[in-house]
């Protein structure tokens, strides 16, 4: 996924969108639009009722989507329908609770079949991740695991070993949500992670401004932007899919203005 960007010496930009928020029509239109707006990979968040790693913005989007009785089958169908109009990789982000109930193998196979390229299970650390990530890989999906600032060196190496695709490096110990500043120690943390692995290291949680992206370029391989995107969606939630797509596209272009 990353070779091309690395050769261009560009940081990958990975927006996060909650599936089914505020409706599936929006999800279907956003995916190709995000590619046009400069996304390198898109993270599709599958709503969960109890997302303990998420701050209020993403929580609320998940709650709204589930209030409308969003079903997994509809998320899969929506992605499958638009997959041919999107050429960049799609990665699903979902609680292990959802994947486990569906059956890990069946879940991974269905994701693959719907056109996903990878899976992030934010609440699945090693050692539990070991057997489960084997199933995900067997289905032909990349397994993306999290590394926190507090993760020990031994665990970082173990996580790198179990991961494929890229490594999701958390900028802070905390939940998702926009933050004014990235921690000063972040660059060192990413550097130490990169010394342990050849896999791309992407930074998420708190990333939300053009300055953040500029700061991360040259340090990390990618930047993941969640709550800031979802907040733009929320601001236009009652104005229809096209208004949301326009607002998010504008935001993404702005975000990339200092790094492209």
């Amino acid at each position: 996924m990353f070779a091309q960007l690395r050769s261009k010496k560009q940081i990958a930009f990975m927006p996060f969108v909650p599936a089914g928020y505020p409706d599936l029509e929006t999800t279907g239109k956003l995916l190709p639009a995000l590619e046009s707006a400069g996304a390198s990979i898109i993270e599709v968040g599958i709503p969960f009722s109890d997302p303990i790693a998420d701050g209020p913005v993403i929580q609320e989007a998940f709650t709204r989507a589930l209030e409308k009785k969003l079903k997994l089958a509809e998320v899969f169908a929506t992605v499958k329908k638009v997959r041919s109009s999107v050429s960049i990789p799609l990665v699903a982000m979902v609680s292990v609770s959802v994947a486990f109930r569906y059956g890990i193998e069946r879940f991974a196979a269905t994701l693959k079949e719907s056109g996903f390229d990878g899976l992030i299970l934010p609440d699945l650390p090693p050692p539990e991740a070991a057997s489960i990530s084997a199933h995900i890989r067997a289905a032909g999906l990349d397994t993306i695991l999290l590394v926190a600032p507090t993760t020990s060196k031994d665990r970082r190496a173990e996580i790198a070993r179990l991961s494929s695709g890229f490594i999701y490096y958390l900028s802070v110990a905390g939940i998702t949500g926009e933050r004014n500043q990235l921690p000063v120690e972040l660059a060192d943390g990413v550097k130490s992670m990169k010394s342990l692995t050849d896999r791309p290291v992407c930074v998420g949680f708190g990333v939300s401004t053009p300055q953040h992206l500029k700061q991360l370029a040259g340090v990390a391989d990618g930047a993941i932007v969640g709550s800031a995107v979802v907040r733009r969606m929320k601001e236009k939630a009652h104005d229809g899919a096209d208004a949301i797509v326009a607002a998010v596209s504008t935001y993404c272009r702005d975000l990339l203005s200092l790094v492209r």
């Binding site: 109890d50 997994l72 959802v98 486990f100 109930r101 609440d123 539990e128 695991l145 507090t150 110990a173």
Partner: protein, 408 residues
Amino acid sequence: MWVMNAAATSLPPLSSVPDALGHFGPYGGTFVPETLIAALQQLDAEYTKAKNDPTFQEQFEYYLREFVGRPSRLYHARRLSEKWGGAKVYLKREDLNHTGAHKINNCIGQALLTQRMGKKRIIAETGAGQHGVATATVGALFDLQTDVYMGAEDVRRQSLNVFRMKLMGASVREVHSGLKTLKDALNEAMRDWMGSVDSTHYIIGSVAGPHPFPMMVRDFQSCIGREARQQCIEKEGRLPDAIIACVGGGSNAAGIFYPFIDDREVKMIGVEAGGRGSALGQHAATLCAGKPGVLHGSLSYVLQDEDGQTADVHSVSAGLDYPGVGPEHSFWKDSGRVEYCCITDQEALDAFEEVARLEGILPALESAHAFAQAAKVATKMTKEQILMINCSGRGDKDCQEVARLINR
């Protein structure tokens, strides 16, 4: 000692769980964001050290004895025994503990660990408010800054406990997400911990959550069963025939069951909240009606829809109003060692009144579920048989809500 028939099931022996990674057979484990792993490993290491440190054990026992007032009584409930017309009924009086429930046992243990880890702040989730009160209590006792997360619906129906927490210097953080009950409070406490993990210890109030909580909370609560075992032998010269406890997350039940787990002749019954009906959303009978799944950090039975979304739950009792259950209970259920059943809101309310009238004891609504099941079981037993009920807490906190519900 009874040894499980390995041919009958592939589960490990009952008293040998969990393994080093917190697995109770297929259940348990650690399913949380990586952010929390360092703190869980620190806790596990500190707890392992403390368990083998006589100084820690002495301190723990000192506070249980001098502050909590242990041992709690094993009381022969003469009038209930007569009324139910079967077994000789004994009550393990956790309601007589300081703060009014079993929850304080665990809080003393975890507060001492907090001190050992050099942390200055504790957080907790609470449903009935008993765990919140117990946490606020140890916060005052050990001078720890205390924040308690509580669903807004529970703040309403357990207002007495909210006031008690505030009096002891804790801040009560009202949670407005979801159905505004225990599960939602737990989510918020976890989120707090994600961002405060180096300075804060999260005192989980039941045998739920990621490893090492289910094991550690069970161990701290096992003082209940150890005492009950000895008291029963002293009074009756033998072990009880059956033990009944209510199950929310499962800590009072685990505490009284665990020291008897290898005594195969002792029948054990866990009582869940049957709420107002058997449809999903109307009850909190996780083991009776749920399926294995992941919630709040461990694999256990859980009430979910087919997409893995946590189901809405209902119980008249805030402490049982939870869609998950501790992983060891799932293990005990599958092994057949403990039987699980449920009691409706109405049956619990009736038992609440019956116990009050006949024994002069107001049980917590949670405990009233155990009494209601005990009435059914006792009748079928003989006068020579002994039935033990874990009276996990007192009902003062529930009086307002019961008054509202029974229209007096």
